[in-house]
Chain length 157, copies 2
DNA sequence: TTTTATGCAAAGTATTTGCACGGGA
DNA sequence: TCCCGTGCAAATACTTTGCATAAAA
């Protein structure tokens, strides 16, 4: 897989998202710098999972002087503010994507890394959680549900 | 969390499992050596997730000369033969546990790493998979469902 | 006897930390 | 001006590879 920005055709939304993230950073006492906003815009405008090096490569198109360390440090802050979330895949768990908080679950394209989110059927999962807890003696606190597949663009002709 | 073997009181079962794994290794052209069987027995007799270093520490109790590299190489073979599976947790995905193939899903104690497995309701998931696929245009090929909680032994008094 | 497995040491890879300098507020 | 953020380089953590020796078959 090659790194792609996957920029939405409606760039107004993603630019707004980047703006919102920058405000959140500022509100939390962090400064607004050029390298930081370039990294923020790169991630906020992508609907693909990106690992730190992919973010670095993409962001360097806009700001060649960027250092990989700054990418790591920015990812750390965005994750801390719950603006991005780490994505676990069979190949590893170094990639990040725009966070979708609440009871949303991720859907990942195995070919290109594009992600989509869906709201789970809360009843089904809750029933399953009770059953599983009862059988095992565990007190269930959390769950992960995610789907893998092939997105529309990656499906055959 | 400290590494624990979590050996079952009914050690007959787990000794059998280790024996079965050693036979599988042999059938696949791998030799039966002391370091290898010590590693195999360590993992096969544990119901906790274990990372390579934890396996190393536990196995060294039985065979002090063991090298960490042998642990890595044995884990590789056991994973390849689908006898163990990698476990993904918020903290990372370096840990392994006895594999439960088929439509079984994992339940992990956030405190001690003990695992249990449960069989999902295939109907419920299939329905959800169809819904999710339809909405997103993805062709769903696989899914992950896992629960986190506190096991019986780790719950308050 | 032949060939695989082992453990050490070295090399990779991924990520974090130390530090002097530059830029934001 | 003050002090946080940056990029480089070095350090660390984790995993894999090269190689001579030891052990299985």
């Amino acid at each position: 897989m090659t790194a792609q920005s996957g920029r939405s055709t409606d760039s107004f939304i993603t630019d707004n998202l980047a703006q919102e993230w920058l405000t959140r950073l500022k509100d939390n006492g962090y400064r607004l710098t050029t390298p930081r906003s370039v990294v923020v815009k790169t991630i906020a405008s992508s609907d693909h999972v990106l690992n730190p090096f992919e973010v670095f490569e993409l962001a360097r198109n806009d700001y060649p002087g960027l250092g990989l360390v700054t990418v790591y440090r920015t990812l750390e802050k965005l994750e801390e503010l719950n603006l991005i979330q780490r994505v676990h895949q069979p190949s590893g768990c170094q990639s990040f994507v725009v966070a979708h908080p609440g009871h949303q679950h991720i859907l990942i394209c195995e070919n290109c890394g594009r992600v989509d989110f869906f709201r789970e059927d809360p009843e089904g999962i809750n029933i399953l959680m009770k059953e599983v807890g009862g059988d095992s003696g565990f007190e269930i606190t959390n769950h992960w549900l995610q789907f893998f597949g092939i997105c529309n663009d990656c499906q055959g002709p």
